[in-house]
Structure formats: C-alpha cells, structure tokens
Symmetry: C3
Subunit: 354 residues, 3 copies
C-alpha cells in the first residue's frame, strides 16, 4: 500500500509544470500547515498564500498566478486547478476504500419476501422489511433498518444505522451517511381545545439518483403524495427537511439547515449552514440563502438573501452599514440641535434689536 513518487512523476500525473526540485521521495499528502518534507500540499485558496513558503511540504501544487520561486530543495507544481490536482494525488496516496463483499451477513434479518440483489452487501444486524427491494451492488451498512416495501436502486450506499421507513423510494448511486432517517412522520396536528390531534402522514419520500445525504439528517415522509429530493442534490449533516418539500436537482444544502413543510426549491438552489425556511415557500432556480438566514417569502430565481427575516444581500449590507453608523447619526442630531439652538438665540437677539 506504500507508494513513493518523485516530483517529476507527480508533475506528470497532474499535468502540471515543475518549478524547482525536491530530492526526497513523496509518499503522502497533507495541508500546508501539517505537511512534512515527504508530503505534497496545495494552495487551493488564496487565503493560504502566506503558508506556502513556511510549509515543510516537499512539493506544493500552486495556481498559475503564484509567482514566488521555491526555495532550494523544494518544488512547486503549477496547475490550472491545484485543488482538483490534489484530489488525484489524495487518491494515489491513500489506502484503498473499505470493501464490502456481496452477500447477506448471517446476523442480518431479511424478510422472506424481500428481494436483495445477489451483488448487494447487507451488513451485520441490518434489518430489511417485507417486500423491500435492494438493487445490484448496493451496500446496506450494519444496523440499518429498511422498512416494508421500500425500494433501493442499484449502487446505492447506506452507511451504518440508517433508517428508512416503509414504502419509500431511493434511487441509484445514492449515498446515505450514518444515522440518516428517511420517511419519519411529518410534523402535523389539528390543534383543538382537547389537544393536538395527529394528522396521518401517509405519503412517502422519493430520493432520486446521485443524491447524497449527510449524517443524522432527516427527511420526513409526506402527509400524502411524496417528499421529493431530485437528482444530484447534496445534503450535509443534521439537516431537517419537512413533509411534502420538493428539492430540485443539483441543490446544495449545508449542515443544520431546516426546510419547513410544503416548500419547493428550484434547480441548483444553495442553502448555507443553519439557514431556515418557513413552510409553503417557493425558491427560484439558483437562489442562494446565506448562512443562518431565515427565509419568510418566496425568492426569485438567482436571488441572494441574508438575515432574519431574509432580504436581498445588498440591502442587508446597506442596512448593516447604516446601523454601524448610528453612533455618528446620534452625534449629528445632537450637533444639529445645538446649532439650531444657537441660531434661535441669535435670531431672537436680532428680533429684539428691532
């Protein structure tokens, strides 16, 4: 598993231009700050420019606009996209992914009428309900619980302790990280004098192909019909998506976001960390909700909003600027009042003179 490469070999691998030379063999990857002389590091964000020279990394992948020459015994490799080039090397130097052999672990509990593809892996203590279907090359991690009549498409990967309740539909190449809960009841009650009466939540969750959902995130089942996450959307950890929400294709939903029931997101919408949305809203294609913002109205395609309640990002910045000047505003008013007083006095004196 141990791999060692020369700096020339690395440059060739990433189609980069070598600058300087590194006598040492390279056997790992690391961040600029943590790298040793046998590591390759990279400058992916201009913010870290000052870390390149002090770094101990034998080789640093740099962007084309980085013009500081390397010191003796170290090398730069200039690349069009250092971050992407680095990913190639990460794959080269890191241990192979854990493999999951086809077959059902003897401790797993699979209903007699469930259909599990022969190439699928079902881990220890996983539980698969009646009439569920598990596609080819799926991995169902240890401790997962798949509900009755739920279907999972081929090559989908469930890490440990994922729960999917009954009758949900999961696409192909979907990745669900540990602790994800799909298809729990939506939060719906009829509140009367006698208390909060539960509204049946009998719809499903549909997750389309190539979706990824982070650890301990929750996607509630629909009251009726479906909660729907469309193709290629990526969801981070600890996200809450309410019943009957529809998330368009290619969205990015960062950690701890909450989307209330019946909202609809267009294609390519981005919600940054800890943002929240009220229910029954529509967000246009490509809308961006900044971190911790709270959206209370529909958003036009391409809108970029910040704050609670969320507003246009430039409007937010303008308001913030004015707020930051309120001490000066107060001082101006005090000064105006003083000057006005002076003027009054002078005027009174003039009038008296008449």
């Amino acid at each position: 598993m141990y791999v060692e490469k020369t700096c020339e070999e690395i440059a060739a691998l990433v189609h980069g231009r070598l600058c300087g030379s590194c006598p040492q063999g390279l056997s790992g990857v690391a961040s600029l700050k943590e790298a040793m002389p046998s590591d390759v590091a990279f400058l992916g964000n201009d913010k870290y420019r000052e870390q390149v020279l002090p770094s101990r990394a034998g080789v640093v992948l740099v962007p084309e606009n980085y013009d500081v020459p390397p010191p003796a015994g170290r090398a730069w490799i200039t690349c069009a996209d250092p971050s992407q080039a680095f990913s190639t090397l990460v794959t080269l130097f890191t241990p192979p992914p854990v493999s999951y052999a086809p077959g059902i672990h003897p401790s797993a509990v699979v209903a007699a009428d469930a259909v599990v593809a022969a190439s699928a892996h079902v881990g220890p203590c996983a539980v698969i309900g009646a009439k569920a279907q598990i596609g080819e090359h799926c991995v169902i991690g240890a401790g997962c619980v798949i509900g009755q009549e739920t279907c999972i498409g081929e090559q989908t990967f469930l890490y440990a302790n994922v729960v999917i309740r009954e009758r949900c539909s999961i696409g192909k190449r979907v990745i669900l990280h540990p602790g994800v809960v799909i298809g729990a009841d939506g939060f719906g009650y009829n509140s009367t004098q006698q208390g909060h009466e539960k509204v049946p939540q009998v719809g499903i969750v549909q997750i389309d192909d190539d979706v990824e959902i982070g650890a301990n995130s929750c996607i509630d089942r629909a009251r009726f019909g479906r909660t729907w996450i469309q193709q290629g959307t990526k969801i981070d950890n600890l996200v809450q998506i309410g019943h009957n929400v529809q998330v368009g294709a290619g969205c990015l939903i960062v950690a701890q976001v909450g989307i209330s029931g019946s909202s609809t997101l267009g294609r390519g919408v981005i919600l940054a960390g800890q943002a929240g949305m009220a229910g029954h809203l529509t967000l246009g294609d490509g809308a961006i909700v900044m971190a911790q913002a709270g959206v209370s109205k529909d958003l036009a395609p391409g809108a970029v909003v910040f704050g609670t309640p969320a507003m246009d990002r430039r409007e937010f910045a303008k308001q913030n600027m004015y707020i930051g000047r309120l001490d000066k505003t107060a001082a101006s008013i005090k000064e105006l009042t003083r000057e006005l007083g002076e003027l009054k006095a002078k005027l009174a004196a003039l009038e008296e003179k008449k």
Copy 2:
C-alpha cells in the same frame, strides 16, 4: 387495497356539499399541483387558491368562502374544514399501516429480568436492559436500545434505532421517531485550571402520555431529579432539550429548536423552527417564540417574541421598519445640515448689515 369512490360518495363521507360533477371514479388523494383526474385534492390554505382551477384533480375539497364554480367534468365539495376532511380521505385511500405482531423477535436481546407485555412487539436486534418494563401493545422497533430499569407505558411506539438510557419513565401512547435519544447526560462541568470536570448527571427523563418526539431529537437526563415533558406535547425532529428542563402540557416544539438546561415552559407554549432559549428561564402559558428567535429573558404568558435577543414581536417589527428607513434618515440629516448652513449664512449676512 384498491378503493374507488364516486364524487357523491366522497361528499357524503366528508359531510360536504357537492358542487359540479366528476364522471371519473376517485381512487387517490394528492396535492392540487400533483393531482390526476382520479384524485381528490383540497384547498387548505388560501395561498393556493389560484391552483384550484388549473389543477387536474377530479374533485377538490374547498372552504365555504370559495366561490369560483367548477369547470365541466370536475367537482368541488364545500366543507367546514377541508384540511380535516382531506385527512379522512387520506386514511380511506392509503395503504393500511404496517402491522407489528406481538412477540419478541428471536434476534432481540431481552434481559432475563425485564418485563415485556405479551401483546408488545419487540423488533429485530432490539436490546432491552435489566428490569426494564414494556407495556401492553407497545412497539419497540428494530435496533432500539432500552436501558436498565426504564419503564414504557402501554401503546407506546418506538420506531427503529431509538435509544432510551437507564431509569427513564415513558408514558402511554407516546411516539418516538427513529434515532431519538432519551436520557443522555446533560452538559454540565465544573471548569477549573485543570480542565472541565464532569458533573454527574444522575437524574432521569420523564415523558408523559401522548407525547410525540421527532427523529434524532435528544432529551437529556436531569443532573438530579427529572427532565420532564408533560402530557400531549409534540416535538419535531433534531430538537435539543437540556437537563432539568420542564416542558408543560400541549406545547409544540418545531424542528431544530434548542432549550438550555433548567428552563421551564408553561402549557401550550410554541417554539418555532430553530428558535433557542438560554438556561434557567420561565416561559408563561401560551407564549410563542418565532422562528430562529433567541430568548434570553423570562416571557409572560401569551408573549409573542422574535429576534435575537428576542423581543416583543411588534417591537421587533417597529425596529425593523425604522432600520429599513435608515437611508432616508441619513438623507434627512444631510438635508437638515445643508439647510442649517444656509440659514447660518443668511443670519450672518443680516447681522453684518447692522
């Protein structure tokens, strides 16, 4: 399982008044947007009024104030409460709930001195600790872990992978969704120069009857005594409730809310999504905390608050209005300064003339 009804039958079922006619048999329910001609939809929120006519739903349940006549081949059914009427139909048309047969799955691990009612269902790979008690007609889902000496009342339903630690008390007809954690240690330390020394958390959690708790929510055990969720309170997903908190009866706590330790909520308090509360606070009966608000002071009964730090909702709205006008405020001050300068000059000219 397939059910088909005429629109007259539907009207009778929901005690509504039929308007127009739908030739097609009805076999499902759906939202206005997704409905097909064989579906019943409903207008539950005035916001969707414009979706009624374009919908393809064969029948729409409408409120009494909806006065647009149905087009040919479609029907409205006027109801006092279309949302509730729809729930009745949802139950009619949807597949029966998954059934859980009484008995302990052979893969479950039940302590010899635990007491499990004969009518209870204990799912695959569930673990029940020493001296725990599981009431009649309970469902303990697959992969649940019930701690030593914990008692669970009758008809309580634990979905998969719920964890309840030792010595907790769960009432009757409680619903715990997948991944819920009850009775983990509260977050308490004595911080000294040597570090943060753990404060023992030896109390319990008591959950009263008819409480429902959403997926992956956490209710910490008390430092001593109990953390207490009272009768009929409903808690959404990913909610955090700290040690020694007391939540009154009939509260609604929406997703991702956080309640810090030792706070007390009265009856019928509502915390909207992502709201937070500092510790040791008291919220009066019926208080409402709006989404993302951060409560830092006690609230009177019936208070409605917004913002961080949270303030009266009207005060928040007023402040927001003034903030929105700060550009005009700045312009006014500029204009006042200019006019004052003019006046000064004129006055100086007058004085000179003397």
Copy 3:
C-alpha cells in the same frame, strides 16, 4: 441502596458549616423547587436566592454570602462551592451507575482480526470491523458500529448506537453519547455544469483523551489528514463539526453549534448554543462566541462576539441600544425639521422688513 444521613453528617461530608437544625433524616437530593423535607437542595446560582426560604428542603447548601437565617426545623450548610458540594451528595444518594461486565456479548459481531481487550465490554448487536482495536476497560454500547482499523483507547465509553467509521483514532477516557457519528465524509464537491462531483474524503478523525461528545453530534472525517478534537474538549448534543476542523484543548461547544470545514479553534474557546462559523477561520485561545452568533472572520484571543455577522459584544450592545432608540431618532429629526422651518419663516420675515 437506601441511604439516610443526619444534617450533621451531611455537613461533615461536604466540609461545610451547619446553621440551624433538621430533625428529619435526609435520603435524597432535589432542586429547591421540587425538594421534600427529606431532601438536600442547594443554592448554586444567585438567581434562585428567593427560592431558598419557600423551599421544603430539609437542608440547603448555601454560599458564604447567604445571610438569611434558616427557619425552625430546617438547616443551611454554608459551603465554599455549594454546587460542587451538592455533586458529592448526588453521588451519595443516587443509585449506583449501571455496570458493564467485561466480555463480548454473543450477539455482537467482531471481526476475526479485531483486537478487543479482555477487560472491555462489547454490548449486544455491536459490530466491530476488521483490524479495529478496543482498549482496556472500554465500553462499546449495544448497536455501536466501529469501522475497520479504528483504534479506541482505554476506558473510553461509547453509549448505544454510536457509529465510528474506518481508520479513526479515539483517545482514552473519551465519552461518546448515543447516536454520535464520527468520521462520516466531509461535505465537499467540485461543482461543474455536469453537476456536483464528489471530492474524496480520505482523511480521518482524531479524538484526543478526555473528550466528551453529546448525543447525535457529527464529526466529519478530513478530506485528507485529520479532523482533530484535542484533549479535554467537551461537545454537547447535535453539534456539527466539518472536515479538517481542528478544535483546541479544553473547548466547550454547546448544543447545535456548527463549525464549517478547515476552521481552527485555539485552547479554551467557548461556542454557545446554535452558534455557527464559516469555514477556514481561526479563533484565538479563550475566544467566546455567544448563542446563535454567526462568525465570519478570524477572532483574536479572548474576543467575545455576538450577532450575525458576529461582532464584538460591546459593539453589538451599543448598536442594539441605538436601534432601540430609533423611534426617538425619528422624532428628533421631525422636531428639528419643524423648528428649522419656523426659523426659516422668521428669518424670511426679518429680511422682508428691511
């Protein structure tokens, strides 16, 4: 298990000074509000001073500056640190902790080449991957899933249903509460016209000694290298820590906090509940982020910040004060405008007279 002590015995146990007398034997601990005459309560927070006299507690532990004398039949015990003294009593009066016998439960699934110390407890349905190592006196709770090649130091305690993925490193005396997920993939994509391409996340998570992590919290594995939680840091429930984050020693991270990727926290940093941080930031030693704040810039050591975007706490307070006065600001401007108008008129009259 039942323990009864006199008030003199209690005073001796906590090295406190007895004031008054309690005839009743003492057999429990409780909060001031919930205590019965056989309970010891304590005054740990000045806020509860008014609850001491009305409490029914037979004995109250009070701080040295509490000078109200006890009524007949009740006693105070004056202590340097009533909260700490109370912890001693909690331990005395409460049932012994649940014990976990050494050994591997027969329902657990342990890889043939995993190394589990003889003194470790592996609970029912736990799963331990290939080449994993479990140290002496560890407890691996029911339903936990430990990935391939992960190492866990001695005396570390994993409650039920914890997931640790492959190749992570967990120190000694670490406590992981139920549902914790360690080492899930970080949230990283290269977004192109074709969609969001997953960036491999091949690093690990390293958790140092004496760290505690609350229920359902998530610590993502590094893109490369490690996500690193250093010695003695305490993390509450439902916290999200992104890939390549480094958290210094002795930090306190309260519930529902989110820390974005590649950020670095110094020693003793405190993040209060629901606070969030952008990625690639550095927080100096002892910095404090108040509840719900959103940090978007590096923080100097000892900084205390509030608000979104977060700013110095005093600056925030000042801004808030000015915002609270905006109604008066508007009134002042109106009044100035009126007075200026008056002045103009008078001046015009004077000029006319000439």
